[in-house]
Point group: C2
Chain length 342, copies 2
């Protein structure tokens, strides 16, 4: 990157914005067609093009000398470069700092046209192993927040269709995260309980929005889902950091994630979606009042002026009904799988 990105603080909302002029130059191969396999010869994430990416920071090998998963720094990084320089205040009082941090790409599999929703569960586990390894490495570098996310489909902001996720490490804790923690801390102080486990327990007791319950994880659509088919996957027990997930937990998570993504793909004909792993900021991993979770947000609706001006989201569907649809899609897929295996 020749141009250094900049973090600027909005004094009115205290949110941070990354001013990233280099991001406009990203290669784009997505279009509205679901599959762009005709572009594989130019895809920097396909096997044979390894030299086109920055040097690997993680890799899982296959048994034939190739790779199953690669993690590389993002060539068009949102945040990059080492910490050290501090914030500056302009003569007019505006606060900014260099856009330091990390931005990595998890190239999830060699197959350009494959999808996390349909691959073998072992391949999903490989991706989660890559997430956890890099999460731990970035935590050791002492960044403030580590955001793991996946953009699937052009409506979700994907710029390359080869299956990939991304990891960004930020040098500041965003105010949105602080607000969420403040609410949970207040609840803990008032009740002695963890708000997240409390909400999960109540969702389980209600039952209508539960997608699946498993030994380690529960998938559900929240009571106040912001978008149609919003789905959370959450540990059943107290875990503040995704980085602390055990091997067995990753095995279970892979199965749940693969099942939910498969169901969404089936129910909604391969929708665009974002998912985000929301984990505690690095300094807050010992708190008793937060549980990490994976939040899937299908991009079926467009937030407009009312949402932007009020922060109130308008969801045109009831999560009780979309949960029923998703459960059926998962059941029918399991049915198909059973028939095939017979």
């Amino acid at each position: 990157m020749s141009i250094r990105n900049e973090l600027r603080q909005d004094r009115i909302t205290k949110t941070w914005v990354v001013i990233a002029p280099g991001r406009g130059e990203r290669p784009h191969d997505t279009n509205d067609e679901p599959d762009v396999t005709h572009n594989t010869s130019h895809c920097p994430f396909c096997p044979g093009h390894e030299a086109e990416t920055p040097a690997e920071v993680f890799r899982l090998n296959d048994s034939n000398g190739g790779w199953r998963v690669r993690v590389v720094p993002n060539k068009f990084e949102v945040l990059g470069g080492d910490r050290g320089e501090s914030r500056t205040v302009s003569p007019q009082g505006f606060v900014s700092m260099p856009g330091v941090g990390r931005h990595e790409v998890v190239i999830e599999m060699p197959e350009h046209g494959a999808d996390l929703a349909t691959v073998d569960v072992q391949a999903v586990r490989d991706v989660l192993t890559a997430y956890r390894t890099r999460f731990r490495a970035l935590r050791d570098e002492n960044w403030a927040l580590i955001v793991i996310f996946r953009n699937h489909g052009s409506a979700a902001g994907t710029s390359l269709s080869h299956p990939h996720s991304q990891i960004v490490a930020t040098p500041v804790v965003p105010i949105q995260i602080r607000h969420r923690f403040d609410i949970a801390r207040q609840y803990f102080d008032d009740t002695g309980a963890c708000l997240y486990l409390d909400v999960l327990e109540r969702e389980i007791a209600g039952g209508r929005r539960i997608i699946l319950e498993q030994a380690q994880y529960v998938a559900f659509q929240p009571f106040a889902s912001a978008v149609p088919f919003e789905t959370w996957i959450m540990p059943r027990v107290h875990r503040t950091s995704f980085g602390d997930a055990s091997d067995q937990e990753l095995v279970d998570l892979a199965l749940v994630l693969r099942t939910v993504l498969g169901g969404l793909r089936r129910a909604l004909a391969d929708p665009s979606y974002n998912y985000v792993i929301e984990s505690a900021p690095i300094g807050d991993e010992d708190r008793q009042y937060f549980v990490w979770h994976l939040r899937i947000l299908p991009r079926l609706t467009t937030p407009a002026g009312f949402e932007l001006g009020s922060g109130i989201r308008v969801n045109p569907s009831r999560p009780e009904e979309t949960a029923e649809i998703l459960r059926r899609a998962i059941d029918s897929e399991a049915e198909v799988a059973r028939k095939i295996s017979v």
Copy 2:
């Protein structure tokens, strides 16, 4: 509306979500083509189709027995119905309330294919007059927050292309607005100054992001613009409520708004955008630390997983550079106008 919408509170973020199953049935005529005049015979907002909308709550007549602006209740309302019923807590502790409020459509002009960015400034003033009249009426009904907004273009969530704005009155103050006020109040307590006028003064002192300065209003692109070409129009003096704008202020605002929208249209080839008038909640109109403003957010980029997970926006352009582009587009339009008038 046969189906009653519902407001649900997210216990984890304290945000409200409107569950609005009826919204899925809206008529849609927008597509990616900039002009859909072929659909005018079916447009419920065109002259001759007045009976297809709910009864008018406001109208400005023209001199030929027709109308210049109409305001009608939105047939596919986000919020509607009178206050009275209170919040309910489910056996599982989830908080909801009926989706009461108001939702109105400002049909800005009779011409289906016209645009607020290119019409005569008098037509813009008519629209602002309609906004203010309805703002005051809804304020008298004692709703919590009145949000006036405009969605232009399909990327901005428009469902009908006939020029229109919308007004929503909510029964609750959203937490996003509370957070903004908390920051401004803290600043006022610390410094005795209004954060909004302070920021404006500093933007004027810096000068590089100013679009235009006029007796009553300043248009500028904020230091920490969340999206490319984000542009604010703000009174130069203390005004907490849009509803208190004087006639002369509306005349001036119409000119500034028309100029900025015209410049954006010219600079960006008629971009999709949302604008929102951010005015104080009804109970907070006497505060000394807030100034209402009109915020224009072009929809040129797609927020993705990182933004959703962190609340940090990534803006691929520097507001100093986009302000220069917008100023030039405005100057060249003024140049054209001068030539035509010669």
